[in-house]
């Protein structure tokens, strides 16, 4: 607890492979948040991660170097939540499906995404966070929202 992310990556885990650069770290698992290389000095504690809008979540640290296809990763996360939704409550059952549809549309748009889709995603995210029955639906939009703001995945 309290070790910085940089120490963990470079000191304990050996850093990225030679010739590659770090692109981003997904902290806390599929329901966590993306951390940029500029934020590597975050202490791995509840308070430290909260201060930069991230979370320790499940404790998972997923590191992506510059060769990783982040569009594919974000779509994979959206599909994961669509698959994992049990289908009981409306915000999660339909919300995770709509989130996947809209994200697909946004990432594929050659001339840049529409502002209406950004609004839709954030509207869905808030309803899933506020009104889903369980933690899966309540956190299903976390990594998508974080990825879209932290990573350069959108065209235009």
């Amino acid at each position: 607890m309290g070790t910085t992310l940089r120490e963990l990556l470079n000191g304990h885990a050996g850093g990225v492979r030679p010739g590659r650069t770090l692109q981003t770290v997904l902290l806390g698992g599929a329901a966590g948040a993306f951390v940029t290389p500029a934020q590597l000095d975050v202490p791995l504690s509840f308070e430290g991660t909260r201060a930069i809008g991230a979370t320790l979540g499940s404790g998972a640290v997923i590191v992506f170097d510059d060769t990783a296809d982040m569009k594919g990763i974000l779509l994979r996360i959206a599909r994961f939540f669509r698959d994992e939704s049990c289908g009981q409550c409306v915000p999660c059952r339909v919300g995770t499906k709509r989130q996947e549809e809209i994200l697909e549309r946004m990432l594929a748009a050659p001339d840049g995404h529409s502002q209406a889709d950004v609004m839709l995603l954030s509207d869905i995210a808030q309803a899933m966070r506020d009104a889903s029955i369980c933690g899966l639906g309540q956190t299903a939009a976390n990594a998508i929202g974080s990825g879209l703001t932290q990573l350069k995945v959108l065209n235009g």
């Binding site: 289908g87 409550c89 409306v90 059952r93 309803a127 009104a131």
Partner: protein, 289 residues
């Protein structure tokens, strides 16, 4: 000398605040009960007086001070000192999104006018998800003479499952199969109704809020364009078959019975009937050729 009458255990009153108004309700009441006492119109889809709350539709959510997430009014019991907001920005947002998500994936055209009123009140515009948004559209299942199942109208409120199960019929012919967006109401192994455990009590039709489950007579008349509720009269009577005394409401159009229901608040039926009361009316209108 008069017999002692047991009145039940005394219940404490619990004080809560809803939208700044103080109210005392009996212990064990739900937030929804308290809202209704104050005549705060609260949208509900999966809630019904004669069924156990499942709190799955999430359209009744309210904001509870000190709670990280919104809470479902239909099932959350009151606790002393609760401070509740029923019309905050967060509440309006979630109610709007729930209605939009449902209406963008399900045919809600046969839901009650009340539902359409809530959609207008919360500014729900389901079209904004685009014309390619996935839906649950599918062909109507017509596999028997008594009722049809149109799951393109199903919002998965679980009411039919509850009425078929421990809340009324204890037949367990239907349940929820699949998961996520593919979750759907199904018989065992998806067999047709005649091969399932269904006993045709029709209690699932009685609780369905969207017209997904419908008398075949109503379905056929709607298809032929002859269904006209303004031309229907409701006649109350008592079921003639056995001695239980179930109250029937015969919906009659052009001198023919087209549908049978029973009032939810009736002490004998609580809205539920059996196959004879629900569907055994043909003999009444048997006419000589």
């Amino acid at each position: 000398m008069a017999e002692t009458v047991f009145m039940g255990m005394p219940k404490r009153l619990v004080g809560i605040t809803i939208d700044g108004r103080d109210i005392e309700v009996t212990e064990g009441s739900t937030i929804l009960d308290a809202c209704r006492r104050l005549q705060v119109d609260t949208p509900t889809l999966c809630q019904l007086e004669n069924l156990t709350p499942v709190n799955v539709c999430r359209v009744c959510v309210v904001e509870l001070e000190g709670s990280r997430v919104l809470v479902p009014a239909c099932s959350r019991k009151v606790e002393a000192g609760m401070k509740i907001a029923t019309d905050s920005e967060r509440v309006r947002h979630s109610r709007r999104l729930v209605l939009e998500l449902l209406a963008s994936s399900v045919d809600m055209s046969l839901t009650s006018p009340q539902v359409h009123g809530w959609m207008a009140r919360y500014g729900a515009t389901p079209e904004r998800f685009g014309s390619n948004a996935a839906t649950v559209a599918q062909p109507v299942k017509v596999d028997n003479d008594l009722y049809v199942r149109d799951y393109s109208r199903c919002i998965l409120c679980y009411k039919c499952v509850e009425a078929c199960g421990v809340d009324a019929q204890n037949t367990f012919a239907i349940g929820v199969a699949g998961r996520g967006f593919d979750a759907h109401i199904s018989t065992e192994f998806d067999v047709g109704l005649p091969d399932s455990a269904c006993v045709y009590c029709g209690n699932c039709i009685g609780v369905c809020p969207t017209g997904a489950l419908m008398f075949k007579s109503e379905h056929d008349m709607r298809a032929a364009g002859t269904w006209d509720e303004s031309r229907q009269n409701v006649t109350e009577t008592v079921c003639p078959y056995c001695g239980v005394g179930c109250m029937l409401e015969l919906h009659v159009q052009d001198n023919s019975i087209v549908k049978v229901t029973s009032p939810l608040d009736h002490s004998v039926t609580a809205g539920h009937l059996c196959v004879k009361g629900r569907f055994g009316f043909e003999f009444v209108q048997r006419r000589r050729p």
